[in-house]
């Protein structure tokens, strides 16, 4: 039997049971479309996070106090209190010739007020280096001036939305704002910028690290951002930072140095796993569609008993009847998969239009594997009904019993 005849025969059969065929196609299409949409959601999340991290600045190391052990188990209850990182430590890090610049970060929340307006915002204590490390600039005024790191000075830079809320259309430069019980002079306003790493730079006040320490009454810094001269020097810079701090902390390694790459690859791994599992969950609906195909084809075999008997009488061997029925389920799943592909990509496109910031993008593997899974479930679940049909006794089948 020619392959075009096989396909034509199957199409005729599918056409003559229209409602059932359409419902079946719908089930398959929903399965494939959900695989595509869910994986594109996961993949979108991955791309989104990756983009966020790369906006952090390049060649960046993040130093945090305390050592995070990767041995597992409970952390010790006593001892192991990490020494704080101090501004002196930060200055010392600068000594490494692989380190381009260092920016300490002291954070806390405090009320910021100007005249009658008050906002509770995040206060970031740092140095002039912070602006170049994080690649942020001011839209008006200037950034924090270079000065000795341990010196406090009542100067601050406002985030864009904080400035809008406090000053409206007035010029803030040179005005004094109250930060908790301190006062500082506004010397600049950051550029209007979106979210970055979950931190809204707009709702932030940046002051000198030493001033922030005085404000929050601490001697330590929360994080230190270390920028290496180049990508190649990242490892050397990391080693230097660790050894400098070991020297200063009585030979103890009590800091953790994260690199942006390490963070990125961790997130990448987590989010890729998420995408896979979303795809897997959606694949269950493909399985359900496969079982529906089996059900439908079993009913078809029962309804078309006399036809199968006739085919046998006309000289169709077992193989041929299996082929005809398998072709029907393959057509169902293939067309369903193609419809699903269209639905999925259309849904993706609609989501992209409504959420332009979020990169919805179905990974290529999801597209072809959804279709492949759809086709193979169709074939696997079509096999049983096909064999069932082929095994019918022609005499009984023709007598309609």
């Amino acid at each position: 039997m020619h392959i075009d005849d096989v396909i034509q025969f199957s199409f005729h059969a599918l056409q003559s049971y229209r409602t059932r065929t359409y419902l079946m196609l719908l089930a398959m299409a929903i399965g494939v479309a959900s695989v595509i949409l869910l994986t594109s959601l996961g993949e979108g999340a991955r791309i989104y996070v990756t983009q966020q991290f790369s906006s952090l600045g390049t060649n960046l190391l993040i130093v945090l106090p305390g050592r995070s052990e990767t041995t597992g188990g409970m952390p010790p209850i006593m001892g192991e209190t990490p020494r704080d990182l101090t501004l002196q430590d930060v200055m010392a890090m600068q000594r490494s010739r692989h380190v381009k610049q260092v920016a300490p970060i002291v954070v806390g929340a405090a009320p910021v007020s100007y005249q009658q307006l008050e906002r509770e915002v995040m206060i970031m204590g740092s140095t002039a280096n912070f602006f170049s490390v994080r690649q942020v600039t001011t839209s008006r005024g200037q950034i924090l001036p270079e000065m000795e790191i341990s010196r406090a000075s009542p100067e601050c830079v406002l985030g864009y939305s904080l400035y809008k809320e406090l000053f409206g259309s007035l010029s803030p430069l040179g005005k004094w704002v109250r930060v908790s019980e301190y006062r500082c002079r506004v010397i600049g306003v950051l550029e209007e910028e979106g979210m970055s790493m979950g931190m809204d730079m707009g709702e932030m006040l940046i002051m000198h690290a030493a001033s922030a320490q005085a404000l929050f009454n601490v001697n330590s810094v929360f994080r230190v951002l270390v920028e290496a001269h180049s990508q190649d020097e990242m490892d050397k810079a990391r080693e230097d930072v660790i050894s400098i701090i070991r020297e200063r902390h009585d030979g103890e390694d009590d800091i953790t140095v994260l690199s942006q790459d390490a963070l990125l690859s961790t997130f990448n791994r987590i989010l890729t796993a998420l995408t896979y599992s979303l795809g897997g969950i959606a694949a269950i609906s493909l399985l359900v569609a496969g079982i529906m195909i089996m059900n439908v084809m079993l009913v078809a075999a029962a309804q078309r008993t006399t036809e199968i008997g006739l085919l046998k009488a006309l000289g169709a061997p077992r193989k041929q009847i299996i082929l005809l029925f398998l072709t029907e389920s393959a057509c169902l799943s293939l067309i369903g998969a193609m419809l699903g592909l269209c639905f999925g990509l259309l849904g993706n496109w609609i989501l992209q239009r409504y959420f332009p910031d979020f990169p919805f993008q179905a990974p290529d593997w999801a597209l072809w594997s959804a279709v492949a899974v759809a086709l193979s479930t169709g074939l696997i679940f079509g096999l049983l009904p096909a064999r069932h049909a082929a095994d019918l006794d022609p005499v009984l089948a023709l007598s309609g019993r």
């Binding site: 020619h2 005729h12 008997g309 006309l314 000289g315 061997p317 005499v395 023709l398």
Partner: protein, 220 residues
Amino acid sequence: MIKLEHIARTFKVGDELVHGLDDVSLDINDGEYISIMGPSGSGKSTLLNAIGLLDKIDAGRYFLDGTDVTELSELEQAGVRREKIGFVFQTFHLIPRLTAAENVALPLTLAGVEHEERKQRVNEALQSLNLTDRAHHRPDQLSGGQRQRVAIARAVVTKPVVILADEPTGNLDHASGIDVINILETLNKQGITLLLVTHDIELGERAHRIIHMMDGKVLS
């Protein structure tokens, strides 16, 4: 051409064994016109199905054109059905979604005959049965007699050596029935062996040879 030796076929009905065919031996020559007659349940159809290789036989040997077809595999038996045997059924068994021409073409389609040749042979078959103007009608647009003629066209399109007709007039009025029998007799005159199962005595007696059956046995 057809030689049956001590054929037996038993069915299990409940706890009882029923002899569908009981030690049937039969010789049928090329071009014969035979009617098989007998009351319901006498084994007429079972005999026809056994000759048509639709039914398995439990004992005995069956030679068709000199080959022992009981020895053949499922695939080979399907081949024999396809090439040598044409069936005509009481209820026509046309596929409702296919047109008359497509129904006639079906055995050729299954056999993988090329499109051109298929078309030509279908046209010939339809023409010989005066169905050319009905070629693109579906079965539900045809009368009973026309449907049976389509079924006969389907049976002869493969140029079989034997036509097995099981009550071909059973679902037709008298005039259409006579018409169908005339067609089958014409085919017989062209050399095709014709086996006709019927319980219509008038039709049965038109055959050259009548086989009477009772309780799975051939009486004469």
